[in-house]
Symmetry: C2
């Protein structure tokens, strides 16, 4: 566990890092309550937080990086650094590597998930961050494209407005932080159920997780997800699937998926990935 | 069973009515293979079919009625009549009532489901048709708005692009042909999963059935659905639902739905409503 640094501020008390993987569906509140971003700040150590921002998914990394820096600084983080990797060589940048070893939280912004993976996958920088995430040393958050990369199988793009079919989704390889999952984001907002079902038909051993905007699936070290924010987290579970014709039909033919389990979770609901069921329901607010 | 009339045509043989309720997701092929419309024609007795068209959902009933008349006449139906009900008084029209007693198939067109129900619900004409449908005397088909009216609880309208929530769907009362179901149409084409989930949260004792365009859920008298056409039929089953917060939250708050069963069916798949599971899978074509 990283030792949280003390910091003298009237309204904030230093606290320990309570590591989590926070998967955010994009368009999280950055202005008013900032519930999700504040939860990330708290789980990175609160006033003791040393936050690394990875803006590499974006084509405007300086703009988006400094926006998040302002937010976390205004919350009272001890330090905030932008790991502004724009080519793969920077994945060995000594000061970035050093900060990655001492930070308490890493935040990956939105943009293009293929760009993010292309710049960072298998770099020394990303590998050292992922090692610490796997040990639950630090909190990792990703929003939108930064959420999409969490699985091993990654949704790189796709369409909507069609019956589920293989060609409706483009798959690639993500960072594998949550290897048992396939994450989709802006989920109900952009009507992505059909593409998530298409992805699950290709990889029925993975749990499909669709996260709405301004909503976070917060993964604890015991494999329990808790929902934060304003929307829903949708979980498509093919563990008991009795049949799919996915491998038998053409790429644009509709797919059958028989006997899936579907969970729609909202604020405070907690779902266990090992148990594949809801373990407690959220408060009514 | 209605006696099929004989008719002299080289390429068609008279056949018995094999009654069904055919729920079509809209935009069915009217030009090329016309698979679904031809199946309706066959199940209404083929060359012996006496077909009634109800175009009352549409604001252009004459146009849409004659379009379907041409199609069924070109297939070789013995007779085709348009029951062009434009006000509720016509629901006692003597010639319509007489035809409704002797027809072998009834086809309800698209348009507005509230208009269709407003004009026909509880009229003598519709009640006499529904009596014959309930006895599986005749085949009833409805497309788009004509499909929406099949349940008792009817989706009258709604939105998309949001987390499931009560205000995302407008409910009304349908004809109750398939009282255990809530039917939605143009389903994946218009991204209606969130609104169907919202409807199911309101009536979890009903089976949510979403039907894609150019796709038909064909209900047999044993409660088995068979899928025809190009897309999928999606079945949302809350029989084993462990929790919903629907009655506890505001109308625009996201709803939780824990442990639903989801089936995505494609061509030839057969699903038993009494058993609430797939009973056989379709051929690969």
């Amino acid at each position: 566990m990283v030792q949280a640094h003390t910091r003298m501020l009237d309204r904030s008390t230093p606290q320990a890092v309570k590591a989590a993987v926070m998967v955010i569906g994009g368009a999280e509140d950055k202005i008013h309550g900032r519930e999700i971003l504040h939860a990330f700040f708290q789980r990175s150590g609160g006033a003791g937080a040393r936050i690394a921002i990875i803006p590499s998914a974006s084509r405007e990394p300086a703009v988006i990086g400094s926006k998040y820096r302002s937010i976390f600084e205004s919350m009272g983080a001890t330090s905030v650094e932008i790991l502004d990797v724009r080519d793969r060589d920077q994945g060995t940048n000594a000061s970035y590597l050093e900060y990655a070893q001492t930070c308490t939280g890493v935040f990956m912004t939105g943009g293009d998930q293929l760009r993010l993976c292309g710049l960072l996958a298998d770099t020394r920088l990303m590998n050292s961050i992922l090692d610490r995430v796997h040990r639950f040393d630090i909190t990792l958050a990703g929003t939108s494209a930064g959420a999409a990369v969490m699985g091993h199988h990654m949704i790189a793009g796709g369409g909507s407005g069609e019956s589920p079919n293989r060609s409706l989704v483009d798959m690639a390889t993500g960072f594998g932080v949550l290897p048992h999952t396939i994450v989709d984001q802006h989920f109900h907002n952009r009507n992505r159920m059909a593409r998530l079902l298409s992805a699950v038909s290709l990889h029925p051993d993975r749990l499909g997780i669709g996260i709405d905007e301004d909503t976070c699936a917060c993964f604890e070290d015991d494999g329990v997800i808790e929902v934060l924010g304003k929307g829903t987290v949708t979980i498509v579970d093919a563990a008991d699937m009795t049949y799919t014709n996915q491998s038998l039909v053409g790429a644009t033919d509709p797919v059958s998926l028989h006997s899936l389990r579907l969970n729609v979770l909202s604020y405070g609901d907690r779902y266990s990935i090992p148990l594949r069921r809801v373990v407690s329901t959220g408060p009514v607010r």
